[in-house]
């Protein structure tokens, strides 16, 4: 093979790998401060390549790193928790057609009396990305649990927000989490080639 061609291919490979390394959402939560109208607001930030994602969590919820995911749980509640995770975009089927499969992945083995709710639930947008929200209830070891999956496709990834808890607690805590997902904001684009092209909140509020 021509040495120049090899060098070109190597360069392409390096650039591609570099691009991949730069592309994924890193859901390790970092404390942040957003300044709006000269007023600081506490927030959580994630990295998304050259961009940052700003997120205002529900009050008193606890966010930690769990591998490449962000794990969270509501305050003063046991058997309740969830994750944010970024997944490669699956082009085999539309997201809406995969929601049941993805939802079932959140159930433990042995789950029974499963009831799925695939439509009619409140929907939320993660910045410009419309999401799909589905829920299920199931029984496991004599307890009834309720889980939710909110999934959205960005340009080249899928964000999966999962939450589950005892069914009796679900309505007390999940609405706050769902509302907070609407505060996901891609900000501070550092490069015009960054994949999440959204400057909706680039303005920190001069007044």
């Amino acid at each position: 093979m021509d040495s120049q061609l090899i060098r070109c291919m190597a360069a392409v490979a390096v650039l591609s790998l570099g691009g991949l390394a730069n592309a994924g959402i890193n859901f390790s939560p970092n404390d942040g401060v957003y300044i709006g109208e000269a007023t600081p607001f506490r927030c959580i930030r994630f990295r998304d390549g050259n961009a940052k994602i700003r997120f205002f969590p529900p009050t008193d919820w606890i966010f930690t790193t769990d591998g490449n995911k962000c794990a969270f749980r509501p305050p003063r509640l046991v058997q309740a928790g969830g994750t944010f995770a970024a997944k490669p975009k699956d082009g085999s089927k539309p997201l809406s057609d995969r929601m049941e499969e993805l939802l079932r992945k959140g159930m433990p083995e042995g789950a029974e009396k499963i009831t799925l709710v695939m439509t009619g639930l409140p929907q939320v947008s993660l910045d410009q990305w419309k999401s799909i929200h589905v829920e299920a209830t199931y029984e496991h070891f004599g307890q009834t649990f309720r889980i939710a999956l909110v999934a959205a496709q960005t340009h080249d990834e899928e964000i999966h927000a999962r939450f589950g808890c005892r069914a009796t607690d679900f309505d007390k805590v999940f609405p706050d989490l769902l509302e907070s997902l609407g505060t996901f904001t891609w900000e501070e684009i550092e490069s015009p080639s960054a994949k999440s092209v959204n400057a909706s909140s680039g303005n920190p509020g001069a007044r």
């Binding site: 109208e37 007023t39 600081p40 607001f41 939320v124 910045d127 410009q128 769902l178 909140s201 001069a206």
Partner: protein, 609 residues
Amino acid sequence: MAVVAIYVGAAYSSTLTLRRNADRSVQFRHAVAVADGALQYSFGHWRQACRNASPSLPTTDDLETIPLPTADLFPSLADRVSDFTAIRAENSTDPTQARTLANYRVRALAADWNPTNAPARSYGRGPEDYSIFYRATADVTLPTVTSGSAPLSVKLSQVFRKRSESPWNYAFFYTGYMDIHSGGSMVVRGPVHGMTETYLGRALLTFTDQVSFGGSLSIRPSGSGKHPTDPGSSDASPPVFPSGQPPRPDAGKIPFGIEPFRLSETDTNADNDSYREVIEMRTGAVDDDPFSAHGQKLRYYDRADVRIEVDNANNVTIRNRDDEVLGPLSTGVNKDLYDTFTTAITTNESIRDNRESTTLSVRLVSLDISVLDSSLRSASGSNNGPVAGKLTNKGFNGLIYIRDSSYSRGSGQLRAVRLRNGAILPPGGLGIATENALYIQGDYNTGRKTGVEPPSNRTSGRDPLQPIVAGYEWQPCAVYADAISLLSNAWTDAGSYNALSSRVPSHTTFNTAMVGGMRLMGPAESGYSGGIENFPRFLENWNSTYSVTVYGSMVQLFCSVQADRTWLHGSPRYTSPIREFNFDERYAGAQPPGTFQLITYDRLAWTLN
């Protein structure tokens, strides 16, 4: 010896005189104190009589029922007066017949301050700006300790004033705590009054008129200090006040004449929770409702000529001022009202208000103001629509009450009212009240029409000092709502579901007074409410590029109950407009439908004879 006797006599005489003088001085102070106490007693009863008589005024005859003070009100007199007596008449000319307290009366005064039976109003700038004066008198006679001395009498009189003023005398009037920590340069033009705590901060805040406060005032200290409501910033300098006009205490102003202590959210009465009652319907008996008792009509539902209610199934019920349900079979002016408002109302439209919810839509009842304008102007020329002229000269008072009764956040039912096509208001102006949140979409009361913008909206050569299209006749108007949001001329309902970056507004102008709620932080919360700069709320990406021009008066009368989410700036909610908030003095003389009163009861001139 004789010389010694003379000296002793002189000393005795001198000490006797000194004693007599000292005694009379002490008695004089006691008499003044008793008279002042008696006037205070009559002031309390006079104020209560004014409340009970409202909206009328008590006459001199009415005030004859003020009870006479009794001896137990003056415990310090117990060892000085053995038989305390009080009468309403003046004392006899015979000093031995003098009563302890005489001439104990409160008399109404005419405009020239001469006594009269029915008091006269002295008007200020507008019909709601007036004062009524009364004179209270109390003559106190106390015996002197020295035998043979004549009793000592003092005659005290004092003028009591009931003052009514309109809230439109203020650029900002707050009943809750008022915090102003504007993030950037902000000039507040017009008087500002906070009834309770007032927190002022940030260096770039400038007041051009008087700031007054009823509770405590806290001007942000220099250095690292900050207010409890202020989350803090690097800018820690005090605001600028007009020369020679530092903030001054002024505790008397009472909305509707109903003192805050008469309102309670914790008792069993559902009709006295807060000043928000005025945008709600009464639920109990009239006598238990401080906003309805004694023949008062302070609730906007009761004051409105048209009362519109939408239920969960979007059924619309329209009532007239007599609370009669109107329908297609109504006749006369009732039919005209029915036709006008069924044409003006659209139900079941939805928007996304990301402050209130990122997941739930807000269902709107929309009122098309252009339909009302057509109905309230004579049918001629281009005014030839289906309701043109229907309500012209029909005595419509310009006040509309509208609500969607199916609001329930717990059930996911967010409800609100929207005003649109309000650039041209009908003659006489409008007052629109709702217990729901209110959205004003697009220019309001500016005369804007297709291709003709007020100078305040121009993209080139924008002039915020000219908020009206040439030739348009400004109308006095006000809105009264749980919370008030301002939407731009570029607003679309579908666009409200888009990301903030896509919700691009345009310069928009609102010439209206606003009475509404704020989401103030509770005792267990911390943080900034958003301040007066966020009294009107925004939902678009104004981005410090597009302007919101307001000419009016902003009154925070209560805390928002339905639109109750806390303030947060930025995506997905809003970014800041160029705020051109201006006080409009025209409201002092041309008051909009639904104007209410701020009442002050105070004691003025004090005279001692």
